[in-house]
């Protein structure tokens, strides 16, 4: 543990008049009994912010406060502002940030700060490896995945290498929906209306299908499959033969995936004269294979007569 640091007796800070904390009137709610060290450091931060000071000592002060409370957006934002005013080498900031981030993995101010710095630095070098090491600790961390998506977009990293890495994340846990989302983002997300080549569409459908065969109740690849079909504007009937591998309304005792029944219900709802089959699939879901969502399946049954499809 670092020794306590105070400013009132530090000659380097003698020119600063600290602004003391106001918790909000004589009887503030949810006030915090700060340590003297934190309370004083914050008083000096308020003072330098009031003067809009950008200096090396401000950087040291923000580092000190972050070490005590990394969940403090004001300190991070003011540090970013100071860094850009001082034009200090940003690679040093990243080097300092790495161990800090590893200590506070759930903290998302750190990720936004990192994004600000890397954006100014103009290079994603080393970032992929760093992200991978963070995901090794928390494989579904929303901020880490979001940061990775920003990185891909900012530096145009829609590469085979990125796709292969995503695949390795799915291989590690085929139910990691964040990894599936990243794959969709890479393949289909580059622009809203861009439709990839037939070859890529086939590759993606095959990829999701083979994942489903390993664990047919895993909803991630089913959502991927349906999302891909919808995105490239293919009819849902594209998935009929595949869904029949896992469920058949004629064989209600041999269902291996509720998600297959769900797909079949949509396929039959669109198919002429197959409304009864659609109803059967939804009944099987409501009564037997996914009873917690009974109201939802019933709602879909109610749509059948209306010529509307889910």
């Amino acid at each position: 543990m670092a020794p306590k640091k105070f400013y009132h007796d530090d000659p380097a800070w003698s020119d600063v008049e600290p602004i003391p904390q106001d918790d909000g009137g004589p009887y503030p709610l949810a006030a915090i009994a700060y340590t003297d060290e934190y309370r004083e450091a914050m008083s000096y931060l308020r003072a330098v912010m009031a003067k809009n000071e950008a200096s090396q000592r401000v950087l040291a002060l923000t580092e000190h406060i972050i070490s005590m409370n990394p969940a403090h957006y004001t300190v991070w934002l003011y540090r970013a502002k100071t860094l850009s005013a001082l034009s200090v080498p940003l690679s040093e900031e990243i080097a300092w940030l790495n161990p800090t981030a590893l200590r506070h993995i759930k903290n998302y101010q750190i990720w936004h700060h990192r994004q600000t710095i890397i954006n100014q630095l103009g290079s994603p070098k080393g970032e992929s490896d760093f992200i991978t090491s963070m995901l090794a600790q928390d494989s579904k961390n929303y901020h880490v995945w979001s940061y990775r998506q920003w990185l891909v977009q900012r530096f145009n990293i829609y590469t085979d290498e990125e796709l292969a890495w995503t695949e390795s994340m799915i291989d590690e846990d085929i139910r990691n929906n964040s990894a599936w989302n990243h794959r969709f983002f890479l393949v289909f997300g580059k622009s809203k209306d861009a439709i990839p080549s037939q070859e890529i569409i086939d590759r993606e459908l095959d990829y999701a299908k083979s994942a489903i065969r390993k664990a047919p109740q895993n909803q991630s690849p089913w959502n991927y499959l349906r999302g891909a079909v919808r995105h490239v504007k293919l009819p849902v009937s594209t998935l009929k033969q595949f869904a029949l591998e896992f469920a058949d309304t004629e064989k209600p005792d041999e269902v291996f995936s509720s998600h297959a029944l769900d797909v079949l219900a949509d396929v039959y709802a669109e198919e002429k004269g197959m409304e009864e089959q659609a109803r059967r699939a939804l009944e099987l879901l409501a009564e037997r294979y996914d009873p917690i969502r009974k109201q939802y399946w019933n709602y879909r049954m109610g749509l059948l007569g209306e010529g509307r499809v889910v």
Partner: protein
């Protein structure tokens, strides 16, 4: 529960129960009856759990599967039995522990020791969660009125908006929590404490060229920003035209609403849910923010149907209900968590108003909240094994309240308040109590909560009415 059990289904449970040390203390026949009742109840619960469990299970083991199994192991004893020894309601599940939750939330407003320094930037949230939770529980919070106003006076920033505390930069999350707290207080002093004109200028600085909003100057842009900004614009009855000094005017934008609905549409993902910003993963909390935005922009029936793909949204939203737990998770293949009782549960009234049908399994969520999300000593939790906090207390209660009440949207917008501008959310009407399958008694009822603002019923309308009377800036 009424009569003791004699069904054969409960007999094995009964034997197991009789063998435990619990029976040692019981001497009189009343206690023996209680044991019988408990055993019967456990059998009933076990039957229920079976009835909502899908027979389909994949055995392929991965990390997701392992934590899911652990979670089920932690939750099931609470769904089946009564490890907290709570009094049971007539449905045989734990009663709402009102007194203990009130005590917990009152405590959450008191002074925190130094170990809580990490909440220094989130103090506004602790006020909001506690006040909202207390009012949902039927508590009068007027003793806190003045202190709330004073506390936020210190965190209002001279340049507009609220920060986490004194001298902290203005931030939309803090602004949202502060405004809602002041709305709950609802006194003229509370309303008047907000500096509308600097707020207007702060909101102008948050607007981005792509249609969305950042949370702070040079902060992250995500759908929370859009929602918090719309909440402030609407409650304070601010002009929709951007302030003259809004930086984004240089890019040709003139209104807070420019590009907004397109941006929100882009947040809907291939799964049907809504993400923090375009391209990211669909997530329950961001879904509520997105649907909240649309419900401020107009009638949910108009806006949700117009700007979102509703069939895939319904598919994703209904998939959030975990079986057999009954509570919600926030993303595909994640774990049940009591705070999604609101983030996902709160999506349902908005979406159901858009499609005109009830779709959520309200009883299953109620069961999760009452059986598994109440902490023995008060406060509500994520899941069994976790500690209570104000956040999970507020949002479990908001979710339960949403399940207990019916609301309908007055498409004719006949009310006096909210005729113009972002007046959409002031036309909700009470529509009685939920009449479907339920698991709560009168004693377990919570107060009605506004489906968009998550404040006590009537408070948002009162605030908007006040600022409509004040006129434009």
């Amino acid at each position: 529960m009424a009569a003791p059990a004699s069904s054969s289904a409960s007999s094995s449970k009964l034997e197991r129960l009789s063998a435990t040390s619990r029976t040692k203390d019981l001497t009189d026949s009343d206690s023996e009856d209680m044991v019988l009742v408990a055993a019967h109840q456990e059998a009933e619960n076990a039957k229920y759990i079976k009835s909502v469990t899908s027979p389909l299970q994949d055995l392929l083991s991965t990390q997701t599967w392992q934590v899911q199994e652990e979670t089920l192991e932690a939750v099931l004893p609470y769904l089946e039995g009564n490890p907290n020894d709570f009094d049971l309601n007539t449905f045989g599940i734990p009663k709402l522990q009102r007194i203990q939750h009130v005590r917990f939330l009152n405590n959450a407003l008191q002074k925190y020791p130094a170990a809580f320094m990490a909440i220094d930037a989130s103090r506004p949230w602790f006020l909001y969660w506690s006040l909202q939770g207390l009012t949902a529980l039927g508590q009068d919070i007027s003793d806190y009125d003045e202190r709330v106003v004073y506390t936020f006076a210190a965190s209002q920033h001279p340049s507009g908006g609220f920060g986490g505390g004194h001298g902290q930069l203005p931030h939309l999350a803090a602004t949202y929590a502060a405004l809602l707290s002041l709305v709950i207080v609802g006194t003229p002093e509370a309303y008047a404490s907000v500096n509308r004109s600097t707020m207007y200028s702060f909101l102008g600085r948050m607007k981005q060229a792509d249609g969305g909003f950042t949370m702070a100057l040079n902060g992250e842009e995500d759908i929370r920003g859009a929602f918090c900004a719309l909440v402030a614009l609407s409650l304070l009855n601010l002009p929709l035209e951007l302030p003259p000094d809004a930086p984004v005017r240089e890019q040709g934008l003139t209104s807070f609403l420019d590009g907004l609905t397109d941006w929100i549409s882009r947040c809907q993902t291939f799964e049907g849910g809504i993400s923090a910003s375009p391209g990211q993963e669909a997530h329950g909390a961001y879904a509520f923010c997105g649907l909240g935005c649309l419900s401020i922009l107009g009638s949910p029936k108009d806006t949700i149907n117009k700007h979102l793909d509703v069939p895939s949204l319904l598919h994703w939203l209904s998939s959030r209900q975990c079986a057999p737990e009954g509570g919600f998770n926030g993303r595909t293949n994640k774990l049940v968590d009591g705070c999604y009782s609101h983030w996902v549960g709160g999506c349902w009234p908005l979406v159901e108003a858009a499609v005109g049908k009830g779709i959520a399994n309200r009883a299953a969520l109620g069961r999760y909240i009452l059986s598994a999300a109440q902490f023995k000593k008060g406060g509500l939790i994520d899941k069994p094994g976790k500690r209570p906090d104000a956040y999970h207390s507020c949002y479990n209660l908001a979710g339960l309240s949403a399940m207990q009440h019916e609301h309908k949207y007055d498409e004719t917008k006949s009310g006096e308040v909210g005729k113009e501008g972002l007046g959409g959310p002031y036309h909700w009407q009470q529509d009685g109590l939920y009449g479907g399958e339920k698991v709560w008694d009168d004693d377990d009822m919570l107060n009605r909560v506004h489906p968009v603002f998550i404040v006590p019923w009537g408070k948002a309308e009162a605030c908007r009415g006040y600022f409509e009377e004040q006129g434009s800036l």
